[in-house]
């Protein structure tokens, strides 16, 4: 019985095409291209507002060379937020629950920030490995620790996103099952469980948005250090 709860994370195939292919291309349809008009339709206006607010927010603390990353980070944010939110619809598949996808997003982008740092300002980038004001005896230990923390960043980025979304989906399924199993037996408990389910769904909506934001924010922080 427990195994069947994890089946939602397997990408089912129809005629050999996995559902993940549809799930990955759907965000493309939801963000239409602006026309040459002065004022676009409401959907585009809302999206434009969101994109400009978000870009301003993320790139304010970053200096000028980092602004080259505006396009990729903003499009990454839109991609993640739409994938996460679409996964909350019934019967849909969330590609970001797959660790492979999240690592594929995290590792190249993190590595790019590190390589940029090492190439343009190697001293400054290496200087991040040792915080200011550490006692002399602690220096070797701290350098090892900081190196480990540097290399764990892509792992943390990918796993954080995967774990949050997977755990959320699993919780929803478990609590929903509990609520409906309890309904004929103990109606009051079932109602309480349903209220819990409603709150959990709201939380999941929030988590979906927050996790996408955190991913991009941390990447921008790594960029800020290195550029």
């Amino acid at each position: 019985m427990t195994l069947s709860f994890f089946d939602q994370f397997m990408s089912p195939t129809l005629l050999g095409i996995p559902l993940i292919a549809l799930a990955l291309t759907l965000p493309w349809v939801l963000f239409p291209q602006p026309s040459t008009r002065w004022m676009n339709n409401r959907l585009l206006t809302l999206q434009n507002w969101f994109i400009s607010r978000f870009t301003q927010q993320i790139f304010q603390p970053i200096n000028l060379p980092g602004h080259k990353w505006a396009l990729i980070l903003t499009s990454l944010m839109l991609f993640l937020i739409s994938l996460n939110m679409l996964g909350l619809l019934p019967y849909t598949f969330t590609p970001t629950t797959q660790l492979s996808l999240n690592m594929a997003l995290a590792v190249p982008l993190w590595l790019a920030t590190v390589i940029i740092g090492m190439r343009t300002q190697p001293t400054h980038a290496l200087g991040h490995l040792l915080p200011e004001g550490t006692p002399t005896l602690l220096i070797p230990v701290l350098i090892i620790i900081e190196t480990i923390s540097l290399f764990i960043r892509p792992l943390a980025l990918g796993v954080r996103l995967t774990a949050n979304l997977t755990a959320g989906h699993l919780l929803i399924q478990l609590i929903a099952t509990a609520a409906f199993v309890l309904l004929p037996i103990m109606p009051t408990t079932a109602i309480l469980t349903s209220i819990l389910l409603l709150l959990l769904t709201l939380l999941e909506v929030a988590v979906a948005m927050i996790q996408a934001y955190v991913f991009v924010l941390l990447l921008s922080l790594y960029l800020q250090e290195n550029v």
């Binding site: 069947s4 089946d7 397997m10 089912p12 129809l14 559902l19 549809l22 799930a23 759907l26 349809v29 939801l30 239409p32 026309s35 008009r37 339709n41 409401r42 959907l43 679409l86 619809l89 019934p90 019967y91 849909t92 598949f93 399924q173 929903a176 099952t177 609520a179 409906f180 199993v181």
Partner: protein
Amino acid sequence: MADVPVVEKRLMDVKLGELGTWMGGRDFTPNGLLAAIRRGHDRYYNKYINVKKGGIGGVAMLLAGYVAISYLWEYDHISKITFRNHISNLCLLLVFPILTLISSYRARSLEEVPLSLSSSHHTIGG
């Protein structure tokens, strides 16, 4: 009615007997398929989303269609699950079509003016 070649008629205008000819003449190359998808997308977009007072209906119908397609895609897998687990998915499924139907009905009854290129004849002078 002018004599339009069978291949270029739209699907609803093709008579049943002409269906074979129509299917044979259509462009099923990847470029042709992409062009067809692009045409379909533009028709939907200009009818439901690119309008003066667009509401949630345009996007909601698209998402409802996506949910329906996902259900069909997973039917093999879902039919093996017992009824109890199925209910929890079904309940969430009820909210969505109702919301979509209400919003798409409302969108039609408001004065929807599709933004077409020919309607922007107003010059700055008045």
